[in-house]
Symmetry: C2
Subunit: 135 residues, 2 copies
DNA sequence: ACTTAATTTGTAATCATTACAAAAATGAAT
DNA sequence: ATTCATTTTTGTAATGATTACAAATTAAGT
């Protein structure tokens, strides 16, 4: 895809096959995949793919601001190509994962502090698990 | 300490020496220690202490709502006895860690969802690192 | 004291991530 | 096209935090 190609170049990342496929996958799958999810998904298309490459590439994307990593749970780093301000909800019963949109938060940082990114992570019960629980 | 004792009992946790010391440590040290920090700090006082006990105890505290775990960075679970709504800031330059207080957030969850806890994690540059950078 | 349940401990296992060095691919220069 | 340097990818080994598990210890109840 030409458009992803240019997106990478514009951010100083040379678009190798591996990087391009990973970037494309992130943009087409908004289910916040883990590094392993991505690896497994792309293996058929790139049989020589190494998991190290997936990690290297994702770390580079995050460094360059092309993706964010969501650490809502320890031992589970999920990646998101949507870098606009939004939060995440994880159901502690079924594990369901959802984007949460919220109005521009009015957070006053201490004097002189400068924020690079915000992460709002919420845990609780999703609709179906909540109904199951209240019965 | 009698007061910590009762606090644990009230929440259905039998106050063993280990649990009491860990709970007390969390309440007296607001620097968001890791499990290992706690283990190292208490080892002189409880020479037989096991790291497994520290983990088991912290997990129990979190389950019962007596503490929260802050996953602002992967590979770094920090514990906080302050369970009231507040956020955390980590300096990506010096590693400094700060509490962030913010006005009651107005977050609308999807219909039927129920939140158990909110986590606001911010990364950026602290005052001194920011000044160092802009020079 | 005896019996049972709860807690702690030590060790081994797990598992995601990183370190590292060799191999492969790419690009520029001759 | 060949050479040579640079970048990227790959495979394997190492790391390190957390958990699993079973034995040992401690506490509680009779
Ligand atoms: Mn998202
Ligand atoms: Mn805090
Ligand atoms: Zn659910
Ligand atoms: Zn700093």
């Amino acid at each position: 895809m030409k458009i992803y190609d240019e997106h990478l170049i514009r951010n100083g990342i040379r678009p190798s096959v591996q990087r391009l496929k990973i970037f494309e996958f992130l943009h087409k799958n908004h289910n916040h995949p883990t590094a392993d999810n991505i690896y497994e998904a792309l293996l058929p298309a790139i049989p020589t793919l190494s998991k190290t490459t997936v990690y290297n590439t994702l770390n580079r994307f995050v460094d360059k601001g092309l993706a964010v990593v969501v650490n809502i749970d320890e031992h589970e780093a999920r990646y998101d190509a949507n870098t606009s301000a939004h939060g995440h909800f994880k159901c502690i019963s079924c594990g369901g994962f959802f984007d949460i949109h919220f109005p521009e938060p009015d957070i006053k940082l201490p004097k002189g502090f400068q924020a690079e990114n915000y992460h709002l992570n919420i845990k609780g019960y999703c609709k179906v698990c909540n109904e199951k629980k209240n019965r």
